[in-house]
């Protein structure tokens, strides 16, 4: 446990010390909240869908968690480039513990970032339907964070160059976000788009958070959580397997 704890603590300490990273990572969510939230708000309301900020705030929280968790994969490339990874690879501890420590650290950072954005949405005017549901919503946020932090570990274990991660961001992370229903309702989508949204794990994450915070859910909370748990286990196993095969 101490190995997992110390590697988790390392990630959290580095995040809390990096004020620039904290501020910079607020940029995209704020832009989405500001531009889309207020820009599309009137259209959304005229369509009878209610207040757009109420709809999209959970999506922006999901987006923040997705992006932050996936960036933990970059941290791994950084560790590979600057050598710290090798220090952990020659240590007399199972690789699985190292992977879990790193993944939980990345996930915690993502949850902290999601919490910050949640606070921003409250300032912007978002109001949860029930305060009691907020802790439950953050359990779903934590699940999203673990899923994508584990995926980032798997990807970070498989590629060696920063440029490779740029491709991952463009061809995996952005589609995951845009297909998740974070910024549009899932009802009435064209068949292909609808099918794609259903294979995106973030869709269930955003739906779960939205359901708990606003009462509006497409799949139902139970199904959302069940899918997230299943994908979480799958991605953690996949991440551990890729990490066990990491090259020197």
């Amino acid at each position: 446990m101490s190995v997992i704890y110390i590697l988790w603590l390392r990630e959290v300490k580095k995040y809390l010390r990096s004020r620039v990273q904290i501020v910079a990572s607020l940029g995209s969510p704020l832009m989405y909240l500001g531009v889309l939230g207020f820009g599309l708000g009137p259209v959304f309301q005229r369509a009878g869908e209610g207040k757009y900020l109420q709809f999209m705030a959970p999506g922006v929280i999901g987006m923040t968690v997705l992006f932050t968790a996936m960036f933990s994969g970059i941290a791994m490339l950084w560790d590979r480039q600057f050598g710290f990874l090798k220090e952990t690879l020659v240590a007399p501890v199972p690789r699985l513990l190292i992977m879990i420590g790193r993944t939980l650290g990345g996930a915690t950072v993502a949850v902290l970032q999601g919490t910050l954005i949640f606070a921003v949405t409250l300032i912007a005017g978002f109001r949860p339907a029930s305060l009691f549901a907020v802790p439950l919503a953050f359990l779903v946020v934590a699940l999203i964070a673990v899923i994508f932090s584990a995926l980032a570990t798997a990807i970070g274990s498989s590629i060696k160059e920063m440029q490779g991660f740029q491709m991952v961001m463009n061809f995996l992370v952005m589609p995951l976000f845009f297909l998740s229903g974070a910024i549009y309702p899932l009802e009435g989508l064209p068949r292909v788009l609808g099918a794609l949204t259903r294979v995106d794990p973030l869709t269930y994450g955003v739906d779960g958070v939205r359901g708990l915070l606003t009462g509006r859910t497409h799949f139902g909370i139970l199904l959302d959580v069940a899918v997230l748990l299943a994908v979480g286990v799958l991605f953690v196993v996949f991440g551990a397997w890729r990490f066990s095969k990491i090259e020197a």
Binding site: Y5, R10, F82, G83, V90, A91, P92, V93, E247
Partner: protein, 263 residues
């Protein structure tokens, strides 16, 4: 007493043979220099001894254990300073030491006491709470060595530890390594391109070229064997004067197929 035994070890990466039928022994408590031109097989040998690579054939032994089957136990017995830096520059010196101590299961109290002893010895105690990114190259190298010694290893591997350091830092570092070797009896296995350093600190020297050991003995023995009056001249006589830069192709091939040998 022998602490490292390498017997007929071969390491191939596809068509490239990096280490070719290498055999040598290292005695407990000695400072052993492993010298060779670029791409001669030094780092590959260290990676095999430190469980990061599995030999294609041959036998390895570290403190009576086989690094191919007893990885965890072998890892407890050595400390290593890699050719490339391996500190977390966003953490403090103390935090880097602490993480290492936890990874090597050093009990908390011992971890603290030994970290303090080593940081004082390596003249880093006053800077223990500073982020490593604010350190000079020499300070970082000293911290890496201190960290490598935290779990009281029997063998310390130093892969070109003085690369890029100024003469003052190099001199200070080797003095510290020699003192530690005497005080703690730790066996030191080092590689370097600075012949004067090997001449100064090493009890015995092995020269590897094209993946094969071409000479082994004390500095005086190597000079006598080659009829030269300096270790550098002996080294050049043994390995030739042509430049041995690793070709990009060979290096790339190695990187592509080399895999950390996992648990």
């Amino acid at each position: 007493m022998t602490i490292i035994r390498v017997q007929h070890v071969v390491k191939s990466f596809g068509k490239v043979t990096a280490v070719n039928d290498v055999s040598f022994d290292v005695r407990a408590g000695e400072i052993f220099a492993f010298l060779g031109p670029n791409g001669a097989g030094k780092t590959t040998t260290i990676k095999m001894l430190t469980t990061l690579l599995r030999p294609t054939s041959g036998a390895l032994e570290l403190d009576g254990l086989d690094p191919t089957t007893d990885q965890t136990e072998v890892r407890r017995r050595f400390g290593v300073v890699f050719q490339d830096p391996s500190l977390d520059s966003e953490l403090t010196a103390w935090e880097n030491m602490d993480i290492h101590g936890v990874l090597y299961h050093v009990p908390r109290q011992i971890r603290r006491e030994r970290s303090e002893t080593l940081l004082r010895m390596f003249e880093l105690w006053e800077r223990r709470d500073d982020l490593v990114k604010t350190f000079s190259g020499g300070m970082k190298r000293r911290l890496e060595i201190a960290r490598g010694l935290l779990h009281t290893p029997k063998v310390l591997f130093l892969d070109e530890p003085t690369l890029g350091l100024d003469p003052q830092s190099r001199n200070q570092m080797w003095t510290l390594v020699q003192n530690l070797n005497k005080a703690e009896g730790v066996t030191v296995f080092l590689t370097t391109h600075y012949m004067d350093e090997a001449d100064r600190v090493a009890d015995r020297i092995a020269v590897i070229d094209h993946g094969r050991i071409v000479a082994i003995g004390s500095s005086a023995e190597l000079k006598q064997q080659t009829g030269t009056d300096s270790l550098e001249a002996a080294f050049l006589k043994l390995t030739g004067t042509s430049i041995r830069d690793e070709s990009a192709t060979a290096a790339d091939q190695m990187r592509q197929v080399s895999r950390v040998w996992r648990r």
